[in-house]
């Protein structure tokens, strides 16, 4: 790959096998510097395995990966000097204070005492940990634990930080605050590699990858993904039907010819219909079946739509190839 600037992560044809199981199958992607790369996929689809491969924790069974310009297979140590990592359950030492946790990680990276003190001040200020410096980590709430874990992962000024489900199990306010912090830091040129299950978080990423059973089936900005032909086939229109009787409406809508695909979203139904389908005609069709429709309007696909479409396409392909 030739590019004017060196990417933060360049993964080419990554393969990881565990015995007979191929956990990661020919995964290639690039993450540019300063991006927030959202890495999504169902549980067990290989997200954590990819992180472990990129951080040098797992040898590659095939392919090639460079992180911050270092080959993960040959120079894992240089990779680890330049990255931060925050694991799924914010692995902190809960019997140590906030300051002690930070000091420990600072020393691990070999920061000099003066440098460490300065970095700790920075981190404490940036993450708002000031009032809690001398508190035991076990006494912090989930959100503060996560901030401390992020602080520990960033103490040595890494250029790239891996966050493995950073918002699992914390409250919405802390979730929002973390994302604000990530945007601010990415403004300073730090790259983030974030795995998540939350679609609203995926929408905030500047670059999204979706891994499905070891294969990367989507890779791009949220907007480019929405326009993929697989997601929005030519000659179709995505609409939102708002109605008080969603479950009944869903069942009936699926019987109407011209409606290709329909799913419930809260108080509405998202459906894929033929492009020139008469929306008023649809309203009449539903009314005939005793469904009162509040509103029908065209809709851009959400990332969730994108992933659902891509996943079902992929499943269909796999079944077809098996026959």
């Amino acid at each position: 790959m030739i590019s004017s600037t060196q990417p933060s992560i360049s993964a080419q044809h990554l393969v990881r096998r565990f015995g007979n199981v191929t956990a990661v199958n020919d995964v290639s992607f690039r993450v540019e510097k300063g991006e927030i790369f959202g890495f999504l996929g169902p549980n067990g689809s290989g997200k954590t395995t990819v992180i472990k491969m990129l951080t040098g924790l797992l040898p590659l069974s095939g392919g090639h990966a460079e992180v911050e310009g270092f080959d993960v297979s040959k120079d894992a140590e240089a990779v680890r000097e330049n990255i931060g990592y925050m694991s799924q359950n914010f692995s902190l030492y809960t019997d140590l204070t906030v300051a002690e946790n930070l000091t420990f990680y600072g020393r691990i990276y070999g920061l000099s005492n003066d440098h460490l003190r300065k970095r700790m001040d920075d981190i404490v200020q940036l993450n708002g940990l000031g009032p809690y410096v001398n508190r035991l980590a076990s006494q912090l709430s989930g959100g503060w634990k996560q901030r401390l874990a992020l602080g520990c992962a960033m103490l040595h000024e890494p250029k790239l930080v891996f966050l493995d489900e950073p918002t699992a199990g914390i409250d919405p306010v802390a979730r929002r605050q973390l994302w604000d912090l990530l945007f601010e830091l990415s403004g300073h040129g730090i790259t983030f590699f974030v795995t998540t299950h939350y679609m609203d978080e995926a929408e905030r990423c500047s670059h999204v990858g979706y891994i499905y059973f070891g294969q990367l089936i989507a890779d791009g900005t949220p907007d480019t993904l929405r326009e993929l032909p697989d997601v929005q086939p030519a000659g179709t229109l995505r609409i939102e039907i708002t109605t008080p009787h969603v479950t009944r409406a869903l069942r009936l809508a699926r019987q109407i010819p011209g409606v290709r695909n329909a799913t419930i979203y809260g108080q509405s139904i998202h459906a894929l219909v033929d492009e020139h389908y008469d929306l008023n005609g649809l309203r009449d069709e539903l009314l005939k079946r005793n469904i009162v429709v509040a509103e029908i309007r065209p809709l851009a696909p959400s990332l969730e739509d994108v992933f659902v479409e891509l996943t079902s396409k992929r499943q269909a392909q796999q079944e077809a190839s098996r026959e």
Partner: protein, 374 residues
């Protein structure tokens, strides 16, 4: 900074904090061995004395009573029951109330007088081999002695051969002198193997170990940083045990205390490395506990602590060469009881050190390979 031991000082710093925070664990792991030494030191007497004995004296005359007095005065037998028939004699042993039964036949005195060879039946409960052995030895010796005296009584001859045993190093055969130096080796496992195994497995359980492996810390730096604080604790524990042994139980230390302290370091090193190796295998603290217990029994039974290694079947004798406590017990008994010096014991210390180094290297490799793959 890019060396093999990277992260050592950071891990040492953190581990010391853990130990300080969890003071109750430390306190109990230090105090329990002392309590155990206290109990075992007072309770266990390896000399077999005062075996419960039942007597069926069918004769009852002076000669038979003299024989019973001799049994009584040996200090080996405690004559607690006198019965009048064979059935009661048997029952007393089967029920476990007595371990030895002595039957003096009706014609004992007559046969002695007529010099036709008197017989005494000694029944011994074989369910405890050391008690049985002692009972055989003492009754045989009394019988032999009694016979010789009667044979020699009518002449001027003296005993042609007389053995004069002299017990070196522990002349009074005091049990604590024999028992406590070995016990030190076993009790030290508590604060070494157990505590290190737990400290690493705890990090596995919390997920902090995975986090550490994404940092530039090297396995050796991590493991030595974990090991050293516990080496200090183990050394402190050793001092407490030695003080208790010396002043509470009055076991004199004949050799150099400094040498004992110095030669204890390789043993502590082995035990700590063993803990680390266990932690590389164990997935939970309960699991680590089970594995650590596996190390305790060989340290008690194959180390020569209770049973002499030389009497074991060949296979187990060679197996005992792999038990670190066997070398350390030789060191402690050597210095404490025999006043041995560096020249006598350097090879034991060297073996311990090599064992420790080997275990640590294996553990480091396992951490490098296994945990990362998990």
């Amino acid at each position: 900074m890019n060396n093999l031991f990277r992260g050592f000082s950071a891990v040492f710093y953190k581990e010391s904090l853990h130990i300080r925070r969890d003071f109750s664990t430390l306190f109990f792991s230090l105090i329990i061995p002392i309590l155990q030494m206290f109990l075992l030191g007072f309770a266990i007497d390896t000399n077999i004395r005062q075996i419960n004995t039942v007597i069926y004296n069918a004769d009852g005359r002076r000669e038979s009573r003299e024989l019973l007095d001799r049994l009584k005065n040996s200090d080996t037998f405690h004559l607690i029951r006198y019965v009048n028939n064979d059935r009661d004699l048997n029952d007393a042993i089967i029920s476990g109330r007595c371990r030895v039964g002595v039957k003096i036949p009706v014609d004992y005195s007559d046969r002695l007088l007529h010099q036709t060879g008197a017989q005494v039946l000694v029944l011994i409960d074989g369910s405890d081999s050391s008690v049985a052995g002692q009972a055989i030895n003492v009754t045989t010796a009394i019988g032999l002695d009694e016979s010789l005296r009667r044979v020699l009584a009518n002449s001027d001859a003296t005993f042609p051969v007389e053995m004069r045993p002299k017990i070196l190093f522990n002349p009074d055969s005091r049990s604590p002198n024999f028992f406590l130096p070995g016990l030190v080796a076993v009790l030290l496992l508590n604060v070494t193997t157990f505590l290190t195994a737990f400290s690493i497995v705890r990090e596995k359980e919390r997920g902090t170990l995975e986090q550490l492996f994404v940092t530039p810390v090297r396995p050796m730096g991590l493991l030595l940083g974990k090991l050293l604080p516990y080496l200090v604790i183990g050394f402190f524990e050793l001092s407490m045990l030695l003080v208790a042994m010396r002043f509470l139980f009055g076991v004199p230390i004949h050799g150099s205390v400094i040498l004992l302290a110095f030669l204890s370091l390789p043993y502590l090193f082995v035990s700590l490395s063993l803990g680390i190796l266990i932690s590389s295998k164990a997935t939970s603290q309960a699991n680590a506990m089970q594995l650590a217990f596996i190390t305790i029994l060989p340290s008690i039974f194959f180390s020569g602590y209770i049973f002499p290694r030389e009497t074991m079947p060949k296979f187990f004798y060679y197996l005992s060469y792999f038990v670190p406590a066997a070398y350390y017990i030789n060191i402690t008994r050597g210095i404490i009881l025999r006043g041995a010096s560096w020249i006598h014991l350097w090879s034991d210390a060297l073996v311990l050190f090599l064992m420790g180094a080997a275990l640590l290297i294996i553990a480091a490799r396992r951490f490098h390979n296994k945990i990362i793959m998990a």
